[in-house]
Symmetry: D2
């Protein structure tokens, strides 16, 4: 998870503006997708995206991810590690090493 | 940022499989967008997404976000807080309170 | 717009299954975005996407686009041509020729 | 497919600006996804999207879809009808009627 201080800052920001009412899980999922596309836009016509723009757009994606996690009581570190465990089993080192074939999921 | 232990686990996972070669910033940005859509798919026909599926898809989005951050040497906590500061200035409490109008960016 | 016969086939398909109830503009917009990501997935790790997969995913994107247009009474040929006219003015030939700089919208 | 006149207008537009060089299938797939998210943004916080904005964003999605189809020699009407045939078999009327359960693909 992000540091507790980051989670607290996000929660305070939302509470001060009374914006929690707009933050349904569905709206937050739409928002994550929208921001992820703005991040992708940094690479629309070239493999070299401007790093400062990438930083801003990645921040937006993460912000909505943390808000969704907060809404649903999800511990982000926990789910990332749990998924990593599953992926380890799906792609054992000896089979997956250096291959992009069938590398269609992390 | 995620806990150092999460970052370390992700880095080890990628290194063991020699997958860093596929993780260009552009490919990771595509991957974040693709996974964000799988998260959105939990809410495609209904506002009630299955929480277990949401947990898995959110984990995938975050995983690629952390991999991109790692690739570019970005501290995710730092960028989230920096962006929050900008958003605070753009949407001061007295103007933004409880309004969804013009609420088109966090 | 697609040929009238294509529009008619799509409308009949939806009516037979009584699926119009799920096809709110919002749900169709989510669906277009989800299918667009599946199309992007053909190019997730490589610039060479499998053409047969591309054909299927592009078909899905277009299907939802036509359904949304049908729902809102939009003539797709008309909007594409109208937008092209705007883009012509925004990117006059003499300025835009062969430049990707600032080429961030079609 | 869109009317021949629409396809011709798009092709002329691109040729005049010498933009075909940027229109790799991969870049066009990214562009479709990016524009689909701008369409989704019309519904980010509400089920009621502004129709004029929807028209513009849908036009952008379709434009890139037609450009990708043109690039790969794909007949858009043909693929939409072929996919519809597959979906008919996957969701026969008697099973699919009025159900959103398992309605996770069109």
């Amino acid at each position: 998870m992000a540091d507790q201080s980051v989670k607290d800052a996000l929660a305070a920001f939302v509470a001060e503006r009374d914006w929690g009412q707009f933050h349904t899980p569905e709206n937050l999922a739409k928002s994550i997708s929208i921001e992820a596309s703005e991040l992708l836009e940094c690479f629309q016509w070239s493999a070299d995206g401007d790093v400062n723009r990438v930083r801003e757009e990645l921040a937006d994606v993460l912000t909505y991810c943390f808000l969704l996690a907060g809404k649903l009581g999800i511990d982000t570190d926990e789910i990332v590690l749990a998924k990593l465990e599953q992926t380890r089993e799906k792609y054992p080192v000896e089979k997956a090493r250096g291959r992009s074939t069938k590398y269609d999921a992390l």
